[in-house]
Symmetry: C2
Subunit: 334 residues, 2 copies
């Protein structure tokens, strides 16, 4: 929505702005275009907390020397269903663009495959990777960690990252079913945006620095977020830690908290992506079977399928309304 | 705990009772011993709603002719990392005992493998399968559906099953980290037990037949359960539907609701089990790396790791205190 605080910017202008800033900050062409694609796709889909909002953080990590803007990701594929990508201390988008086609081919051939990404800095949504797989007829599951931000159920101390988990299911001829959610009550980016815009956050989102529940996002940013859904959501957040760190060998959130230089950018970490072919596992007829499921659930009153709002936003080719101050900050970095 | 309503029964007596009742009801020896092992393991671990409590339902499904007590599960293993088990319209325990060793071998060799189980009636916990994998050095993930019992977030109508999800992580030399949770606020068995014992259930557990929230388990059993954690838990419940039905070709919960004969036993459905080897994916050092994680989280105030209470119960070789009326019911079936 337009407001005095926002400016109307076309998707092409958004991409150009992103390309310009990453080039200006010394990224090589491969990393620049991968980053700009990721930022633009987020703005296109209305995934605002992963769009231009992230650019100052990306830049901070280039300037601090933490992230390699000319990273050349390397693939190891010794086992047919295991793909290992070393991100060469760069940002996730190029590492993922390098590994995902290999992962998809492996799953389409072998039925299931897993990709481990390490030495990598992830600062974006996860749906680009799971949607990539779903658009190729595969189920995609991806997760990554962060720095300590979330208190496990029962504790008052930050230990888990916001630990997002994304799942996509293919619907050939249609947009996939996709969710991508922090395993905290809210994503940290959403809490930051609420603090910036002066909005309260819902009950139960987090604890202030005194360990007491609060609706003030600024207090929560000084305290801790809580996992969604109490001890069950906390178990899911722990599973994410084990998959993206235990199963990759890269940092758990608590380790990233120790090693990160806190430059405002992403922390180093691992990502795990699993791809499974319903064609090879369930066999013929899976598509019709699942279409029946989507028809049935869509017929219930009060239902909105995850991913639908984003895919609807995607159809809008008009300008996006971006925080004016953010645009000025990014232009200053170009 | 002992009470006038319970009777102290040793684990051996529990297993003998289970063996006797399944033999008396016409199960063959393979199915009888697999079922009795499952029931006894649940009572041993204090997983009460999956122990003897389930026996009358198992028997009802044998008597109605829905389930084949002499099922001979068949394995197909054409792709190295995809195992398919047809349960021959029998109970899950024998199908799982047949498939799990093949799944574990495949994952230990190939890094990742998936098992699809179909034509199968699951009425037990899922931790026996995920723990089996974790005890062999593998991550295990398993899920299954049920009949419509849970309203997706936003709806007031039952559509999802209670859709349990279990995850186990290997800790060689120690019990694995395991969770096994319904994606509803409570498992249906726990609501049934609360209704039987006259206890209220927590706020938000479900809706009565009028679509309004209630703490009365009997009203919820006539209405619907809710997913844990609002729309995020609802997304996880949907993922479970797609994995255990979309990825197997067996019934979604809404289909099971149409086809089941409502004899009080389990509904036919699919199960998906994924196994991944941290040794082959993360590589050397994974064990020490993860031990550091478990040490760190265990050091936080207020934390109890999932599975710990069950593994503690397991160390108790003494008698279990079983509802006396339940024992009498089962004896009448022998």
């Amino acid at each position: 929505m337009a407001s005095p605080k926002t400016r109307a910017v076309s998707l092409t202008e958004i991409e150009t702005l992103a390309l310009t800033v990453f080039r200006a900050q010394g990224c090589d062409e491969g990393n620049t275009t991968a980053l700009a694609r990721t930022v633009t796709a987020a703005e296109r889909d209305g995934s605002v907390s992963h769009g231009l909002f992230r650019v100052p953080g990306y830049v901070a990590s280039l300037r601090s020397g933490k992230v390699n803007g000319s990273a050349k990701p390397k693939i190891n594929h010794d086992l047919a269903s295991v793909i290992s990508v070393d991100g060469d201390m760069g940002y996730a988008p190029l590492a993922l663009e390098t590994g995902l086609p290999v992962l998809a081919d492996a799953a389409l051939k072998n039925g299931i495959a897993v990709m481990r990404v390490v030495n990598n800095f992830h600062f974006a949504a996860l749906w680009p990777e799971t949607e990539y797989l779903a658009e190729r007829g595969l189920m995609g599951l991806a997760c990554t960690a962060f720095k300590p931000t979330v208190a496990p159920a029962g504790a008052k101390e930050a230990f888990f990252g916001t630990n997002p988990l994304s799942f996509a299911w293919p619907r050939p001829g249609q947009t996939p079913l996709v969710f991508d959610m922090a395993t905290s009550t809210l994503a940290k980016g959403d809490v930051q945006i609420a603090a910036r815009d002066g909005h309260d956050v819902p009950e139960g989102t987090g604890l202030g620095p005194d360990g007491q529940p609060t609706n003030d996002p600024a207090e929560i940013l000084k305290g801790v977020l809580l996992p969604f859904g109490g001890y069950k959501g906390s178990a899911i957040a722990m599973m994410v830690e084990l998959l993206c760190a235990g199963m990759t060998g890269d940092y758990f959130s608590f380790e990233a908290g120790v090693h990160d230089n806190n430059d405002g950018g992403p922390a180093k970490g691992g990502e795990l992506v699993i791809a499974i072919s319903p064609q090879l596992v369930a066999g013929e007829g899976w598509q019709k079977h699942c279409a029946g499921f989507f028809d049935a659930i869509s017929g219930l009153d009060g239902i909105r399928l995850p991913g639908d709002r984003r895919h609807k936003n995607r159809l809008d080719t008009g300008p996006r309304h971006i925080n004016a101050e953010l645009i000025n900050r990014i232009k200053d970095l170009c």
